[in-house]
């Protein structure tokens, strides 16, 4: 289809998509690739990459870094995708209602949205996660809660401009109900920017999750890239790989997602072509 052709016409998009697929594959295959879990101690601490049996070296207490990185990918992707899905769900619903109905409902919902936007979001997130007990679920909920306003704003803007289009008026005239108009008439036309924003949000959520784990607010029973960096920062100067490798993983993943986002934007937005 022409959409796929436009998307894969840009080299960064191809790169981003390929890297993303590779990370997903590693994350899914982690239990098959490694016999032991990420938390088990396998050797002496701080062995450099390339030591026998240790592709990426060992960390401060002698865990296999390679296993940690592979399992960390699972956490990053899971949190990134799950929190984005939640945020998109909330954002689309509230943005659609605000944009479609307008009036006092719009005013009210936008004030709520602004409330979430003016609070320093990371502080809110830390408080929330600490309050709910650090766990995978609380990270997902917390990140969704601080990111949905972006989606809501985009969706509202789309709905505001689309609801006055004549095909929407036509739908009302033939007797279509509001819910049906919102979901079958307007939403499909509002999808492109939502898709673009979401792809970028996954990257941001991964960064946020890493920051939380770095600060020790991640799930203590799970290995994530952020917690790897946080746990190894004492050894930063003697064993670079303990912090640099998980850091690189984060950078590459987020970069890949941003490339995908840019590619989607170009492919979905015909005006930006050429």
């Amino acid at each position: 289809m022409s959409f796929a052709r436009r998307f894969f016409a840009s080299p960064p998009a191809i790169f981003g998509f390929a890297v993303f697929l590779a990370i997903v594959a590693i994350a899914l295959a982690a239990p098959l690739l490694f016999a032991r879990g990420p938390l088990s101690i396998v050797d002496m601490p701080l062995l450099p990459p390339g030591s026998p049996g240790l592709l990426a070296g060992s960390d401060v207490i002698g865990r296999d870094m390679a296993v940690g990185l592979a399992y960390g990918a699972r956490i990053s992707l899971l949190v990134g995708i799950a929190s984005t899905c939640c945020a998109v769900g909330i954002g689309v619903l509230l943005g659609a209602i605000a944009g479609y109905y307008g009036g006092w409902l719009d005013d009210l919902l936008m004030r709520v949205t602004e409330f979430f936007q003016i609070i320093p979001s990371f502080v809110l997130l830390m408080v929330l996660v600490a309050f709910l007990q650090p766990s995978l679920g609380s990270a997902v909920i917390g990140i969704a809660l601080i990111t949905w306003p972006q989606v809501a704003r985009v969706v509202r803007g789309q709905f505001l401009s689309l609801r006055s289009r004549e095909f929407v008026e036509a739908a009302r005239i033939i007797g279509m109900g509001d819910a049906r108009i919102i979901f079958t008439q307007i939403l499909p036309n509002a999808l492109p920017p939502i898709v673009v924003v979401s792809s970028m949000m996954v990257g941001n959520a991964i960064l946020t999750e890493s920051a939380l784990s770095f600060l020790g607010l991640g799930d203590p029973n799970l290995m994530s890239w952020g917690s790897m960096i946080g746990g190894s920062r004492v050894a930063m100067w003697v064993a670079w790989w303990t912090t640099v490798l998980p850091g690189l993983c984060i950078v590459i993943t987020v970069l890949a997602l941003n490339f995908i986002g840019d590619g989607l934007n170009d492919a979905l937005n015909p005006r930006r072509r050429g």
């Binding site: 095909f167 005239i173 033939i174 049906r180």
Partner: protein
């Protein structure tokens, strides 16, 4: 030597466009002190020809052959810098949409003065002085006050006058006007046309006038060239071309121009199906914290409409005609008054009770590009209404095939998407969508104003046929008096939300009672043209 001579001009479109050449082998001469019109439908290449003369072809579109000789010098061979120096003192241009052509964050005085100062070493003060003088010559009142105005504070006509002042600020030898009155109301259009004509005579300049309207051609042009698919099919003096057109296409175009001669006979007296009385709609601006005074868009309007008859509602932009239509069909909630459909007042009915009645009043929209959902197939669009009413999907599709045939489309098009159709075809699809619900009343809101004149004629005929066949009551909203004269039994003239005059079409056109109607009729371009 003519001032401007196009010699076998050929302009290529980028690959993947619907045809390889936008303009093909076009030759045309414009003498000094002469107005030449290029007339054609959309996609004829008339606008690109004008842009080529200005050296302003869009990216990817290039002149590949021929020449554009301005006082003997070939503009196609000149450098960017040389062309820049020519724009203003030699050739200037005005555009269709003055709002888009003016910078919204700069005052009018500053913009016009800037143009002068780009070419002449003048102080800001002197340039402003000249600007003031120019604005006065454009017939603008209080030119000094206007210097400090921003474009959004002006009316459409004032903006176009400012654009003309800017174009003429350096006394160009050639003025290119690209559909300069298409976006304006008919009375404003008449004033702007008169202004251009007066300025042309005063300054003895040449004008290249691009238009789609033969009425405008008749009023303006000394000579005319008719373009189609990038070629000139016929050219000559205006009298020649309009009086005895040689080419079939010119004849077809001329035949399609609504003449307003054969008025429909008065309708047979019948019981009113729709009875509107005292309908009022106000718009309030401002949000939670501001309350600015309300604007009364529709003010105490009453009308009645019976089966088989077409009532035209004409008026200029802002007259409230579209708001009236949207209140009658309850896309907007009126503030006061009633709309009786077969005796039931739908003006204040709750949406839930109204929904089953909606079937009975349907609408055809103005913009063929936004009235169909771009993400749905024609089949889905056309059958959506019946399916909501619980009609079986198979039966709905069978009826859709019949209805599409009725409006002149092939049933196969059900599987295709709106973007695969032309403007005229889309209007047919929109009509089919409305007819699928077997309505009693059809509201047509400027259904042909976005269409070329030949397509316009076909769609008007189709609407009239359908009205007759299905015995519909039709409310026809239009700004174009000529169109109203073609299809309406009765006409209602609106201004500032109020009804100025109402009567049989023949009476309104031959013996208008109000001054406003007289002014509207006098402003129709090409009135003198036999």
């Amino acid at each position: 030597m003519p001032l401007l001579a196009l010699q076998n001009l050929t302009i290529a479109l980028p690959q993947g466009a619907d045809r390889p050449l936008a303009v093909e082998d076009v030759s045309l001469q414009i003498g000094r002190n002469e107005i030449v019109c290029i007339v054609g439908e959309s996609g004829s290449g008339k606008s690109l020809t004008a842009h080529a003369v200005m050296g302003l072809l869009p990216r990817g579109v290039v002149a590949t052959g021929g020449g554009i000789l301005f006082e003997g010098a070939d503009l196609l061979k000149e450098t960017q810098e040389a062309m820049r120096r020519r724009r203003g003192p030699d050739i200037a241009m005005i555009f269709q949409d003055p709002m888009a052509a003016l910078n919204p964050v700069m005052t009018v005085g500053h913009q016009v003065a800037e143009q002068i100062r780009a070419h002449r070493a003048l102080s800001e003060h002197r340039a402003q002085k000249q600007t003031e003088e120019l604005l006065g010559q454009m017939g603008l009142k209080d030119p000094r006050g206007l210097l400090k105005a921003y474009p959004h504070q002006l009316s459409g006509g004032q903006r176009q006058r400012v654009m003309i002042a800017m174009a003429l600020s350096l006394s160009p030898k050639l003025l290119i006007a690209d559909e300069p009155t298409t976006a304006l109301d008919v009375t404003t259009q008449a004033q702007i046309l008169k202004l251009i004509k007066r300025l042309q005579a005063e300054r003895a300049m040449s004008v290249l006038f691009i238009t789609h309207d033969f009425g405008v051609v008749a009023d303006m042009a000394d000579s005319v060239a008719v373009m189609r698919h990038g070629r000139i099919v016929e050219s000559g003096t205006t009298r020649q071309v309009l009086g005895s057109p040689a080419h079939d296409y010119t004849r077809a175009l001329l035949a399609a121009v609504p003449k307003g001669e054969n008025y429909l006979p008065p309708p047979a007296q019948a019981k009113a199906l729709v009875q509107v009385s005292g309908l009022t709609k106000r718009f309030r601006r401002g949000g939670l914290f501001s309350r600015s005074p309300a604007i009364t868009a529709v003010d105490q309007v009453s009308l009645s409409l019976s089966r088989g008859e077409t009532l035209g509602v004409v008026g200029e932009s802002g007259s409230g005609k579209s708001t009236l239509a949207r209140c009658v069909i309850r896309l907007l909630d009126p503030d006061a008054g009633e709309v009786l459909l077969d005796g039931a007042d739908i003006a204040h009915m709750r949406e839930r009770r109204l929904r089953p009645l909606r079937r009975r009043i349907q609408m055809v929209f103005q913009d063929p590009f936004s009235s169909l959902n771009p993400r749905q197939t024609i089949g889905d669009i056309v059958t959506a209404g019946p399916r909501i009413l619980g009609e079986d999907a198979g039966q709905a599709r069978a009826r859709a095939a019949e209805t599409l045939e009725l409006v002149g489309l092939k049933p196969e098009c059900m599987h295709r998407f709106p973007h695969e159709f032309s403007g005229g075809q889309r209007q047919r699809i929109g009509l089919a969508r409305a007819l699928m619900l077997k309505p009693d009343v059809l509201i047509a809101d400027e259904p042909v104003s976005a269409l070329d004149v030949t397509v316009q004629a076909q769609v008007l005929k189709l609407l009239d046929d359908v009205r007759r066949q299905m015995n519909l009551a039709m409310l026809f909203i239009t700004h174009d008096m000529r169109v109203a004269a073609e299809v309406c039994h009765r006409v209602m003239v609106m201004r500032h939300g109020q009804v100025v005059e109402e009567g049989l079409t023949r009476d309104i056109f031959t013996a208008p009672a109000s001054d406003y109607t007289k002014a509207l009729l006098a402003a129709i371009p090409g009135r003198q043209w036999p």
